[in-house]
Structures are given as structure tokens and as C-alpha cells.
Symmetry: C2
């Protein structure tokens, strides 16, 4: 289940620093990889940054299409998050290999990954120096979605027993998003 | 308490996306502000990105000194994290106002903030276009530290009852770093 997120609130999907899955597509090819290095860059219009290594098929597809999706996986996708971060899409379609269901995005060709809690459809703002020197991509968020069971009206509200977003550390180790508190 | 962190493992302090406090100093002036928009950019030598708004005193001090520290606050500093994110250092010294203790960094003039779980001493890699267009700063991590009760030998190990790192959402709402799991 997914509902649109007001673009002005889209940064809140990423503000707590979850690990994301970057999906991409160009022509007949599609791919998905994991990225712990992603952050919001602006509120309105919303922008994001993400690091995409030169060696990856994702890099090729993002450069060719100028588009990608940041999918925010829930804990149920943790094993797949590690798997898509350690296999290359050049060795075969990871969606098929890992049995990952997708559905179409609204404004970009890259697919949205089923089982996530939020999705940000992004168009690259070309910055060749950043891309070449730092593998750093800047993009504008052109559509955003969330599973209304977990995020609605601009707020996260993970219920007891619901799988939360995840935060990769290293070596297959994650933190789950913890308890909410206010000050 | 703090011990040095091997620079090659410094990215692990930030990899799970905690909110940071950016401390800065130049001449007689010093300041601290909150930043949810920060991420690792490279492993070795370690680099980071952080967004620093043009309106802030921090921006002025970072531009003048070419240095800053990313302090990773524990939950005990959540109220201070909101306070330093909503007051300007131009209205008075926030360290004094909020009773924030500091200790000297090793390689930069900006102070390290007491009560944090990790610290990254950073030197700006000048990228005027990013700074001007996106308020985006890229920096090399030149020294890193952690409280060995929470992070040692490259690993987080928050014990029961210890205050963890925090992840800001909006409007005074945070998530605490949750439980660790492996896949």
C-alpha cells in the first residue's frame, strides 16, 4: 500500500538517516543497489544526495537515464539489502534472482520496490565534477510515496510489531530505527 | 571518556545516519549547530558531507577557518540538539547559555562537545560551487574519536541503559538508534 507524500514533507522520509535501495532503469535494463550514503539536501523543491560508485551498473543506468528511485526498505528486506549491495547487476537481474516485486513509478522509469516503507522518485541535477570526483549525485525529488501504515500526513508512526526502516553499519550489521521521543 | 578511532573505520560512526552537532571556531568566536543532513562520502581517506545554511554563524566560522567537528550526540543531549538548532550563535555563546562542556580537538580549533558518543575532526575540501549553490560542504576527516563504552575497535556496542545516538525527524521529534541485528 502506498499514498503520495506532499513534496514539502518528502525530506522527512530520509531525515532520520535510513539506508536506502537505489533502483534504476534504462532501456531494457534495470537494477537495484544498497546505499547507506544518502541524505536530504533541500526542503522545497526537495533535493537529495546519494553516493553511487563508478564500478556499479546502477551508475551506468543513472547516467544514461538521469533518474533513480530511493526506496526505503523495512527490516523484512534486510537480507535483500545486503544481497543487492554485494552482487552486481551485471551478473544477472537482481530482482529476478532475489524474487523482488516492483511496481511502476509515476515520474521516472526506475521501478518502486515492494515491501518498502517509503519511496522518492528522483531526477539527477547534472554536476559532472561531483559525480566524477566524489561519486556524489545530487537530484531533485519529483514524487514521493509512503506506506500509510507507517508514514502519513508528514509523520512516521511505526506501530508495535511493524517492521521499521533500517540503518546499515558494516559487515551485515544494522540498527533498526528505534523508539520515537519528543523534546 | 574518548579513545581514537582508526581513520579507516571512522565512516562507521556516521554510517547509520545519526543527527550531528557541528562545532566550529575562528579567532575568539566559537559555535555549535545541529545538522540532520550529513553523511559519509568516502572510506580512505575518510570524507563527509554536511549541509550548512548561509544564514548561520557556523557558516561564517567554517568558511573562515576551513574546519569543523561533527559531534554525535547521545540521547542525553537531545534537548540541547534542538536548542542549538533553533538559536543563533549571533545572539550569544550557545556553549555558555546551554552549559555545554567542551574539550580541545587534536587537529582543528573547533571544540569537541562533552556527552557525545563520537567525534569527527574535519578539514573542508573547498568546493565553492557546492557551497554557494547547495550549502553543501565536503570535508576530510583528519581525526576521529569515540566513547569506548559505546564504540570500540570499529564497532558500536550500545549496552542496555546507555544513551544511544539519535536521529532527528522534525518538530522536536527524534528516533533513538534502535536494536542491532545481523543478517
Amino acid at each position: 500500500m502506498r499514498l503520495p507524500v506532499d513534496l514539502k514533507k518528502a525530506y522527512r522520509l530520509l531525515n532520520h538517516g535510513p539506508t536506502v535501495l537505489v533502483s534504476s532503469a534504462h532501456g531494457e535494463q534495470r537494477n537495484v543497489m544498497a546505499a547507506a550514503w544518502s541524505m536530504p539536501l533541500d526542503f522545497d523543491p526537495p533535493k537529495v544526495t546519494v553516493v553511487i560508485d563508478k564500478s556499479t551498473l546502477t551508475r551506468e543506468l543513472v547516467d544514461a537515464s538521469g533518474e533513480f528511485v530511493l526506496n526505503i526498505p523495512a527490516r523484512r528486506l534486510a537480507a535483500e539489502t545486503v544481497a543487492v549491495g554485494s552482487h552486481s547487476g551485471r551478473d544477472g537481474d537482481k530482482f529476478a534472482e532475489l524474487n523482488l516485486a516492483t511496481f511502476p513509478a509515476e515520474k521516472v522509469a526506475a521501478p518502486l520496490l515492494d515491501g518498502c516503507v517509503g519511496w522518492l522518485e528522483c531526477k539527477v541535477i547534472p554536476e559532472p565534477h561531483n559525480q566524477q570526483t566524489y561519486d556524489l549525485y545530487i537530484a531533485e525529488v519529483v514524487a514521493a510515496w509512503a506506506d500509510p501504515a507507517d508514514f502519513s500526513e508528514g509523520h512516521w508512526h511505526f506501530a508495535e510489531g511493524r517492521d521499521r526502516s533500517i540503518h546499515y553499519v558494516a559487515g551485515g550489521t544494522f540498527f533498526e530505527t528505534g523508539n520515537e521521543f519528543k523534546v
